[in-house]
Symmetry: C2
């Protein structure tokens, strides 16, 4: 099992694609080189283009005749091969690699995830943060956002927070363990943990809470949106660059 961090700015998301640079694609290329045999990775979260990860998890299995700890260092060296301008740091880094029982699967065995959504609220436009947060100029009312967040915590049918046009394979009921809204100097941070998230769910929740903070949506309308199950009753989809996959939980 790998713990991976990446800067999503220059990736077309996690999932392998034939003609695009993706995190899974880059990782598989490097691991295949290091292990000397084709590696296929299972990631816990198929993050979209521009979304970042501090603690993505992924797993692969095989016997390659290389000590596990060597795989991590050798792979990290290769991952800096994307270095340019004298930087020795790439945009993906393996933070940890550990052996698990043979039947372990990073996605199927995970018990939940935590995401962070970073909003720069007011202050000067900062071009250096353009890929790392959502810039909202007008002041956000944190107390309203906290009030609205209360309706989201718990087990609900979250169909209203699912990207329209998503393939609905199963239930849209999920459990949000916690949703914290707090200020960090100029930033407003959302931290949300749950047993699973629908497609674009965190970004739609972030967009909805931003509209609550701007006074465009009343906090209790968020409860009504959830009850209605209709996407059009929730707010906009906040942009990808503010989103970070922070942690994946296991038993």
């Amino acid at each position: 099992m790998l713990t991976i961090e990446y800067d999503g700015s220059n990736f077309s998301g996690w999932q392998r694609q034939p003609n695009a640079r993706t995190v899974q694609g880059e990782m598989e290329k490097v691991l295949t080189k290091v292990c000397g045999a084709k590696v296929e990775l299972n990631g816990t979260s198929r993050t979209d283009a521009g979304v970042h990860a501090l603690g993505q998890r992924a797993s692969f299995k095989g016997e390659y005749g290389i000590p596990t700890d060597k795989i991590m260092n050798a792979s990290n060296n290769h991952l800096c091969g994307g270095k340019r301008l004298g930087s020795l740091i790439g945009d993906i880094r393996i933070k940890n690699l550990e052996e698990k029982p043979l039947d372990f699967h990073a996605r199927f065995d995970s018990k939940g995830k935590k995401y962070r959504y970073v909003i720069q609220n007011g202050g000067q436009v900062n071009i250096f943060r353009r890929n790392y947060c959502y810039y909202v100029e007008a002041p956000l009312d944190i107390e309203s956002m906290k009030d609205a967040a209360k309706y989201i915590i718990g087990t609900h049918d979250f169909a209203c927070f699912q990207a329209s046009g998503s393939q609905i394979r199963e239930t849209t009921v999920r459990t949000v363990y916690d949703l914290d809204v707090y200020k960090d100097s100029d930033d407003v941070i959302l931290e949300i943990s749950g047993d699973g998230f629908l497609y674009n769910m965190v970004r739609i929740i972030a967009g909805t809470l931003v509209e609550v903070g701007l006074g465009k949506i009343k906090p209790d309308k968020v409860k009504l949106a959830i009850d209605s199950g209709l996407r059009q009753n929730a707010g906009h989809t906040a942009p990808a660059q503010g989103l970070y996959l922070v942690e994946v939980y296991y038993e």
Copy 2:
């Protein structure tokens, strides 16, 4: 006269080139579109690939029948055309645009510049800062760096801090007004101002001071390096991504 900030990560430097994305090239394209006539820009500093600017200055002249303040906003809108992933912020932004007497020239009239060089010293490798600072893992001794900096301040022949192979057109004597070394949490910051800088001078000074901080070069050897005029007596060239053009001075 324009005041411009840019994130140099995705530029092949300032100077216009036929087949590369450069700051001058992008700016001229946008200004030509906005003004409806070919614009040629004079920048004060031909920053290298990966080098950032908080306050680059540039000038152009012409009568386009558009109010000066309209040029700035229209250009900034176009500069966000490079937006992706829902970000509305581009990697260049005009911070100010003002009219000057017709004989004004941003480069020839400038009286000096200030640069900042940012070193992350110790702490965890941060992939999100890979394009924005120089990561030096081993602890730097700031006091030695300050001692060495004293030999650099003043009017000297700085040939030893010029990239070898540079075209020497004129004198290599320059005046460094000030060179400040200070800590900012995990970072060590160098701030240097002077009447002008040789090619790669700030990056070679930064690399030299890093080696002083690591104990590889004794502070007083920096004086000897300057006196010798030999590039090989100075330290390495610190990478581009730690360098920021902060300010350009005028009378």
